[in-house]
């Protein structure tokens, strides 16, 4: 247990209210008014977190958000391994997102798989002035010649494409025809569209609908016999192998995974997904669109699940099994039981070291709520959370299923706010991204990157939970945090913790 004074929920609520008022003081009046709508204290029983979301970021505040291109190329499309994804426009976007998301895959890179290659049309001034369509044609020709085993091409638009009036759809159609019906997908994910990565996810989902489902390319027919137990994993990007440590559980309970969207995924898997009996959706934020579409168009039900931490894994396995017969339901129980000794051992080892520790999160569109259960399995408490690009339906799910009363909620938090909140609340751990990591470590606050798993993982599934627990322990309990102050300068710092 932390050596902290404990406070009542009412005291914490008052402290958080004061904190919000304090950070708003820094802003010019207009900005303060806008930001006030994104900051709140959760009240138990409410249907959402009482914050506005999915609204434009305010200029100059140091938002943590990215762009639509990041949402499409970086998240949804980039992991599809057997297609070549062109970062279409200037060199930077593709360069900065090259290989950094850790979407694991198996394949012969550069020959039949292309995830960790950076393909770009590297726009020059003349391409801006005269348009880039001709260059795009040539880029596709050169891809065909040098990478003959690619199964398809996507065009990931960077900002200039939409501004200079290029017709990437026409180019894609023409080249597809020329290449014998090859799947070529133009994606209008220019970075200035929308307010964050989120619109990029949506645009990327729509591109699958329009250019893969609706086209039914030459590979359209699945080469396997359907079974009553076919499911597709939707919204798992296989970061550090997350989709694999999830897939193994689904297969163990008796289901057959016919597609992974999109970590370690392939075009054939996307095309075959309409054959699934159930779509199981991990990252709701980035792939609910295509799940809803498949429900409407093909009558495939979908269900959300959560594979972080044993409590949520067991709940999810039972929920998924509920869509199938007794064989699968029994399978779920068998698997939960099988892994119980591992779960017990992990909790026995790490919970005593983490019990009562507090966590503040700020991640993308799913993890600000989804990982809370895993922390709770280890006896930790999430005292603040927020989404980089969540929508109101994310905050509803958060309020209804995850956060406790008086939790501090911060939507699209910026550098200034996040630093002030952490400085005052002094959590035992912050979970956020690379841009935040070193800021908080300098402040002496243990930190784990919760986008990339800090180059660790997987964190999904039972195998992942062991790694998660180990990682959180080594962050929180690293001996280095005791060395922060030169001994001749050391002063104790006050703490604020909820009373049990």
């Amino acid at each position: 247990m932390s050596l902290a004074t404990t406070y009542s929920t009412a005291q914490i609520r008052a402290r958080n209210k004061e904190l919000i008022e304090e950070v708003l003081k820094v802003y010019p009046e207009k900005t303060a008014k806008r930001r006030a709508k994104h900051l709140n204290i959760h009240e138990a029983g409410r249907s959402d977190c009482g914050v506005k979301s999915n609204i434009k970021s305010i200029p100059g505040v140091m938002t943590i958000r990215g762009c639509a291109y990041a949402g499409s190329k970086g998240v949804v499309w980039g992991p599809i391994k057997d297609m070549v994804h062109i970062s279409h426009g200037p060199v930077g976007c593709g360069q900065y997102s090259w290989g950094s998301r850790r979407n694991y895959y198996v394949g012969t890179t550069g020959i039949d798989s292309f995830v960790t290659l950076q393909f770009t049309s590297d726009f020059q001034e003349k391409d801006i002035v005269f348009g880039g369509d001709k260059k795009l044609v040539k880029v596709m020709d050169e891809i065909q010649e040098l990478f003959p085993l690619n199964n398809g091409i996507t065009v990931q638009s960077e900002c200039p494409i939409g501004l200079i009036g290029d017709d990437i759809e026409a180019v894609s159609r023409a080249k597809s025809k020329e290449f014998g019906g090859k799947t070529i997908v133009p994606v209008r994910c220019e970075g200035f569209r929308g307010v964050s990565q989120s619109l990029g996810h949506h645009i990327a989902n729509d591109a699958v609908r329009d250019w893969i489902f609706d086209k039914g390319g030459p590979q359209g027919k699945p080469r396997f016999e359907p079974s009553p137990y076919d499911v597709a994993i939707i919204g798992d990007y296989n970061i550090g192998g997350d989709a694999w440590s999830s897939r193994i559980l689904l297969e163990e309970i008796g289901l057959r995974v016919i597609a992974q969207w999109s970590g370690d995924g392939s075009l054939a898997e996307l095309e075959a997904t309409p054959k699934a009996k159930l779509n199981i959706l991990h990252c709701y934020r980035s792939m609910n669109y295509i799940s809803r579409h498949m429900e409407e168009k093909f009558g495939i039900p979908w269900c959300e699940y959560n594979f972080f931490g044993p409590a949520k894994i067991a709940e999810s396995l039972r929920k998924i099994a509920g869509y199938f017969d007794d064989k699968i339901k029994e399978g779920a129980e068998r698997v939960i039981e099988k892994y119980q000794p591992l779960v017990n051992a992990v909790i026995a080892k790490y919970r005593p070291r983490l019990e009562g520790k507090t966590v503040m999160l700020f991640v993308g569109g799913l993890r600000p709520r989804h990982v809370i259960g895993a922390y709770e399995d280890l006896g930790m408490e999430v005292v603040g959370t927020g989404y980089e690009f969540g929508h109101n339906d994310d905050y509803q799910r958060t309020a209804q299923h995850y956060v406790k009363d008086s939790t501090l909620i911060y939507d699209d938090v910026n550098g200034y706010e996040f630093e002030r909140f952490v400085e005052k609340i002094q959590p035992d751990l912050v979970g956020s991204g690379i841009k935040e990591k070193y800021v908080f470590q300098k402040m002496g606050v243990p930190f784990r990157q919760m986008h990339s798993w800090d180059y660790s993982g997987p964190y999904h599934g039972y195998d992942g939970f062991a790694i998660f627990a180990r990682d959180m322990d080594m962050a929180v309990n690293s001996p280095i945090w005791k060395k922060l102050k030169a001994p001749w300068k050391d002063v104790p710092r006050p703490k604020l913790l909820a009373a049990e």
Binding site: P59, V61, F192, I248, V257
Partner: protein, 518 residues
């Protein structure tokens, strides 16, 4: 089940277990994979001269380039000024990328703001984003200066920074006399080194030439100081500190322009320093009066140096000096300009580097190297290799131009070891892949992305360049100065010895050469 609480298996062990291997094997039936024989055939084909020819015939497609875009360089230069917040006008995702990229290399925070332009700004222009953005940044982050640059979005729609900043000041976003230098940094021109150049020139122009018409131009009153510009450099922390040490040893009064060596190396002691160190704004202004300005990287200062020369200073550019002769030239130039002698301490450091090279050059002599990176870095490393009797066989710079090739050819011509060496401007790492297959070399020098080349071709990679994401802390040690040369030498030698050991460690097969002394 292989996972256990006692011995937690990480991804690299976990997925190699039989259960996961079986699972991944079974997954293939859903992937419609290519015939393995066909994959093998194409893999072998990509190693051929025929493939190389097609690869080098590319006109439109770039694969694995070794360059980034202008605003990254602008942000890098801007944070080198005291209390300066870089402000990039345009789409916000770009700024998230620059910050991540710099943080992944330096393992440090990287502070920078965006004007967050979206669709409406694309139609109506980003003036309001500038007005609101400057006001918010100024109030929240209390900078001493805000340095503005642009993303390609703002450049395509033609936003005018000078006018926008002026209007913002009129609207009270920041005080009228608050310093807001600016530079247009279109991503579709040049690379990050161009952005560095533009941003630095923008800042100097601001202070020297009347702050965009809001103040009198400064009058140059020559003094004895020497200005130094490091250029875009992944080793900025170690290098600039080494340069300062050299200046102090020589008793030279100096100003480092864009000194970001502290902001990218702050202590962990409970306090986050968003700004730290940096060239003071007073020093940036009074740098006008210096006797001379030295650029350590010619291609990072192609516009800045002529601008400074036009103001009456001597200017001098090096090409990322690494090794004995390049450091000699640098020190002799310092001595000539300052009139101060090179102290014995530096002569002894030189002697130690020569000593080390003499001790070890037998292991490097005659070895063939491939190098890629920024144009100046390539030149500096190639020159050092020639001193060691090695051959920099392939030198590739995606952001190198014709003038760079000429300079490289002159360098090759200056040494018998440069005879069979070639410079490749505007090429990328997929070209390098073909070069390594068709004209093999012993070692490769480059940034982290070279690990893909090492995997594919088997040529061992020595990590020198930017970005280095997968090794930690090397940026804290210099590669400039005689001591920096020593660091580079050791890095090269360590790799060579590790490789010899790896080749000779099979028990009873190759271990007759597994020598204890090398």
């Amino acid at each position: 089940m292989a996972q256990s609480a006692d011995h937690v298996l990480d991804h690299f062990d976990l997925f190699r277990g039989p259960e996961y291997q079986q699972m991944l094997d079974n997954k293939k039936m859903f992937e419609n994979p290519r015939d393995p024989a066909e994959v093998e055939r194409i893999k072998e084909w990509t190693k051929t001269s025929e493939y190389r020819e097609k690869n080098f015939a590319r006109e439109a497609l770039t694969i694995n380039p070794a360059k980034a875009c202008q605003p990254l360089g602008a942000v890098f230069a801007s944070v080198g000024f005291q209390g300066t917040l870089p402000f990039v006008h345009g789409s916000q995702g770009c700024v998230a990328y620059y910050r991540s990229h710099l943080s992944r290399h330096f393992k440090e925070p990287s502070s920078c703001v965006s004007s967050s332009m979206t669709e409406d700004a694309a139609v109506f222009g980003g003036l309001n984003n500038m007005i609101d953005g400057l006001a918010n940044s100024y109030n929240m982050y209390k900078p001493k200066m805000i340095a503005v640059s642009t993303t390609c979005m703002a450049e395509v729609i033609g936003d005018d920074l000078n006018a926008f900043i002026k209007t913002s000041k009129e609207k009270g976003s920041v005080p009228a006399d608050f310093d807001v230098p600016f530079a247009h940094t279109p991503a579709f021109v040049g690379s990050h080194v161009t952005g560095y150049d533009n941003a630095l020139k923008g800042i100097l122009e601001h202070f020297w030439d009347g702050k965009a018409g809001t103040a009198d131009k400064l009058e140059r009153k020559p003094n004895r100081k020497i200005n130094l510009i490091g250029g875009f450099d992944g080793y900025t922390v170690g290098n600039l500190r080494e340069i300062k040490r050299i200046f102090e040893l020589m008793g030279i009064e100096y100003t480092i322009l864009a000194d970001n060596s502290d902001v990218f190396d702050t202590p962990t002691d409970g306090e986050f320093r968003m700004y730290d160190g940096g060239t003071s704004l007073e020093d940036a202004a009074s740098a006008l009066h210096a006797k001379a300005t030295i650029s350590m990287q010619q291609w990072c200062t192609e516009k800045t140096l002529p601008f400074i020369a036009d103001h009456g200073q001597e200017v001098l550019a090096f090409n990322y000096p690494v090794g004995v002769s390049a450091t000699d030239e640098f020190l002799m130039a310092l001595s000539r300009i300052s009139g101060n002698e090179i102290p014995e301490e530096l002569a002894r450091e030189r002697g130690r580097l020569v000593d080390a090279m003499a001790d070890s050059s037998a292991h490097i002599h005659g070895k063939k190297f491939a190098i890629y990176g920024d144009p100046d870095l390539c030149h500096g490393l190639a020159a050092f290799l020639l001193e060691l009797g090695a051959e920099p066989t392939h030198v590739l710079s995606t952001n190198g131009n014709k003038a760079w090739v000429e300079k490289m050819q002159a360098l090759f011509a200056s040494s018998p070891y440069g005879k069979n060496c070639h410079a490749y401007p505007g090429r990328d790492l997929w070209h390098m892949r073909s070069l390594l297959f068709t004209e093999p070399v012993d070692l490769l020098i480059g940034n982290t992305y070279g690990k893909y080349l090492e995997r594919d071709t088997g040529v061992p990679l020595i990590r020198i360049g930017f970005p280095i994401f997968d090794r930690h802390h090397h940026h804290r040690s210099p590669v400039w100065g005689y001591q920096g040369g020593m660091n580079v030498l050791v890095k090269i030698l360590d790799k060579i010895f590790d490789e010899i050991d790896k080749k000779t460690n099979v028990l009873g097969k190759t271990d007759f050469s597994f020598d204890i002394i090398r």
